[in-house]
């Protein structure tokens, strides 16, 4: 039987509310809220937190892609973030979009990133301090990143296809119904125009929720190791690709595998099912 880890591989990447309250005013710390609900930040947020919208701030408005390094530098500068700033991300939906924003920051090489364990809901449930005041930080100097780290943290459709053909790990983090092909979107979520249901051949179904407790905090190191290392056979050094519907839930699992379990070579296929399920000729498996 494999030895179970007793701590996260990168414990510094996960902070709790007490840590955040102690460090919220540190000049080298910036709290970043990122939500699915586009107006949620405006209804109240953690004091000092800035808002980054996954769609209007991080994505190109025309092409399905992310902003350019120039635009990323400008975004960070406007939020008072420099390359040395530690960004602590949190948000609604158990931190889906917080993990997505963190992943996008890694895409541009920003290394000092953390997640607030439990996200917005736990902070509110614990009756922590709350405000509607929007902070205004002086612009920071953020040099334009020399490149985007697509090869390191991001997978494209042809790479997902190669992964499937070579029978390397593909983790599908959507709901069981989506994986089986019974539905093409989450219950209670809009149908975003996907024409086919099912999953990439060879993918393993591990819904994102498997990694969290009821209060949206992450499960213990040993529980996560049991799910992903023992259960899925994921190993250090093996290429692993995670995907969902549009890349947000898989960012959550990408964070778990990369930071909490310390696996290298994990990439997020952000095109996910909205690309694969519409792609002419893409192979699809149905059923459990």
């Amino acid at each position: 039987m494999a030895t179970q880890p007793t701590s996260y591989a990168h414990p510094e990447a996960l902070v709790d509310a007490d840590w955040l309250e102690q460090h919220s005013k540190d000049s080298d710390v910036r709290i970043v809220e990122s939500n699915e609900d586009i107006l949620l930040y405006d209804t109240g947020h953690i004091p000092g937190a800035v808002h980054i919208d996954w769609r209007t701030d991080l994505q190109d408005p025309v092409i399905r892609d992310y902003i350019s390094p120039d635009q990323f530098a400008s975004l960070c500068s406007n939020k008072g973030i420099s390359p040395d700033t530690t960004c602590v991300f949190y948000g609604d939906k158990a931190n889906w979009w917080a993990c997505y924003a963190l992943w996008a920051f890694r895409l541009f090489g920003h290394e000092k990133v953390k997640i607030l364990n439990g996200g917005r809901d736990k902070w509110r449930a614990d009756s922590r301090t709350w405000t509607r005041d929007v902070p205004n930080y002086p612009p920071a100097d953020y040099p334009v990143p020399k490149k985007r780290y697509d090869k390191e943290v991001r997978a494209f459709a042809d790479e997902a296809l190669a992964q499937s053909k070579s029978e390397k790990p593909l983790i599908d983090v959507r709901s069981p119904g989506e994986f089986k092909g019974d539905v093409t979107h989450m219950p209670e979520y809009p149908q975003e125009g996907v024409l086919r249901g099912g999953h990439i051949p060879g993918a393993t179904s591990v819904p994102w929720k498997t990694a969290t407790n009821d209060d949206n905090t992450f499960k213990s190191p040993s529980e996560l190791a049991k799910i992903y290392l023992e259960g899925c056979g994921l190993k250090q050094g093996t290429d692993t690709i995670v995907y969902c519907r549009i890349g947000e839930r898989s960012s959550h699992t990408w964070f778990v595998l990369t930071y909490l379990l310390g696996l290298n070579n994990v990439r997020n296929y952000d095109g996910s099912w909205t690309e694969w399920g519409n792609k002419v000729g893409a192979p699809i498996e149905k059923g459990a």
Binding site: L39, E188, Q191
Partner: protein, 152 residues
Amino acid sequence: MYPPKLDKIISLFEMLPEVERRETLVSYADSAKKQEPRTGEEFDLEDVRRDEECADTVGVYLQVDEEGRAHFRMTLGPEVQTLTRAMTAILCKGLDGATPQEILELPSDFVTRIVGAELVRVRSQTTYYILTRMKGICKVYLDRQRQAAAAA
């Protein structure tokens, strides 16, 4: 073209710069709870359900008074998004006193003028959902009225 109360709300939003537009939407969202049914109120129709287009259950309650004017109450589940809450309060106030037929025939182009093109673009289903539900209950009401008239 629009019911007078809705027309006033549209005019208000059109005058607002973007930051204040968002603040006003949040204020309306905060007041959505005031649109819930009150003890003792009776309704001609109630439609409470959870649709694929919305993150939680939404209840629409319609009362049509003796003059044939519609009055709405709404219930929203905790997961309903802020923009949907805002549209709930705006439409309950803006359509209060209009007739079911006027509501059914209401063009939906005013939504962009209230919410702004950017929010409509990124959350189109959210912004139109409540209006669709209100039109839906008005249609059922009018269909039943017509059926009753035909049977009489």
